[in-house]
């Protein structure tokens, strides 16, 4: 188990009671996010597709690395890591 910090973007802070970061334990990103869902009702459905993948319009970084370039939700985390959840920002005419 590692102690990590999860950074919460503005659109998800209604779910986390206004908290912009949460300290939590886990061995992988998936475990951390599932614990976040257990702690904050509705978190999982905003971030995860089916519990096995991150939603297409969400990017998750461990420190500077996008987990899509690593092992997705199986990406291991270490003590002191920061997990950043970023909504994909897009649009057009």
């Amino acid at each position: 188990m590692s102690n990590v910090t999860v950074k919460i973007p503005t659109p998800l802070r209604l779910i986390t009671g206004g908290q912009s970061e949460v300290k939590i334990e886990g061995a992988t990103v998936g475990e951390v996010l599932r614990k976040m869902d257990a702690q904050f009702k509705g978190f999982g459905e905003r971030v995860l597709d089916d519990g096995r993948n991150v939603k297409r319009f969400i990017n998750v970084f461990v420190n500077e690395d996008n987990i899509r370039d690593r092992k997705e939700l199986d990406t291991e985390v270490r003590n002191g890591d920061t997990i950043s959840i970023l909504p994909s920002i897009a649009g057009g005419i």
Binding site: T10, R13, N66, L86, S88, G91, I93
Partner: protein, 144 residues
């Protein structure tokens, strides 16, 4: 409501006009009061990763987002909104904008016609209705 110093908005317009005829985007950083009004104190330009349809679509580089978030991690300021351009189109949100929007941010859309900024409007998402509503965009003169 979103308040932006005139000098900052002018700099954003310069980014918009320099990027024409392509769409461009950036993040606005500032504070939010208890009534959810935003005050912009600075901004950062971000890359548009949508190269194939750069004239009518944008996809902000998530690494730029991460960089900006990290830059203001230990600051009282945070990301309060997103700006992007509509080349040769009105400063109103499209369906594409609405589909990709999130609650809590101000979305400033800037119309640029033939390379010159024509109008700017700010919008906020009503998540339940999945619909944008315009909010006042207040430009403040500043003494800097």
């Amino acid at each position: 409501m979103i308040k932006i110093p005139a000098s900052l908005l002018h700099q954003i317009y310069q980014h918009i006009e320099a990027s024409y005829p392509n769409e461009c985007c950036g993040l606005m950083i500032g504070t939010t009061d208890k009534d959810q009004n935003h005050a912009v104190h600075t901004f950062r330009t971000c890359k548009n990763l949508n190269q194939e349809r750069a004239r009518d679509r944008y996809l902000m580089d998530p690494l730029d987002q991460l960089r900006v978030q990290r830059e203001f991690d230990n600051s009282p300021w945070e990301i309060v909104g997103i700006y992007h351009s509509h080349p040769d189109h009105p400063s109103r949100p499209s369906q594409t904008d609405t589909d990709a929007a999130y609650v809590g941010y101000s979305y400033v859309i800037i119309s640029v016609l033939k390379g010159t900024v024509a109008s700017a409007q700010s919008w906020v998402l009503n998540e339940a209705e999945k619909k944008f509503y315009e909010e006042p965009l207040v430009t403040e003169g500043d003494s800097r």
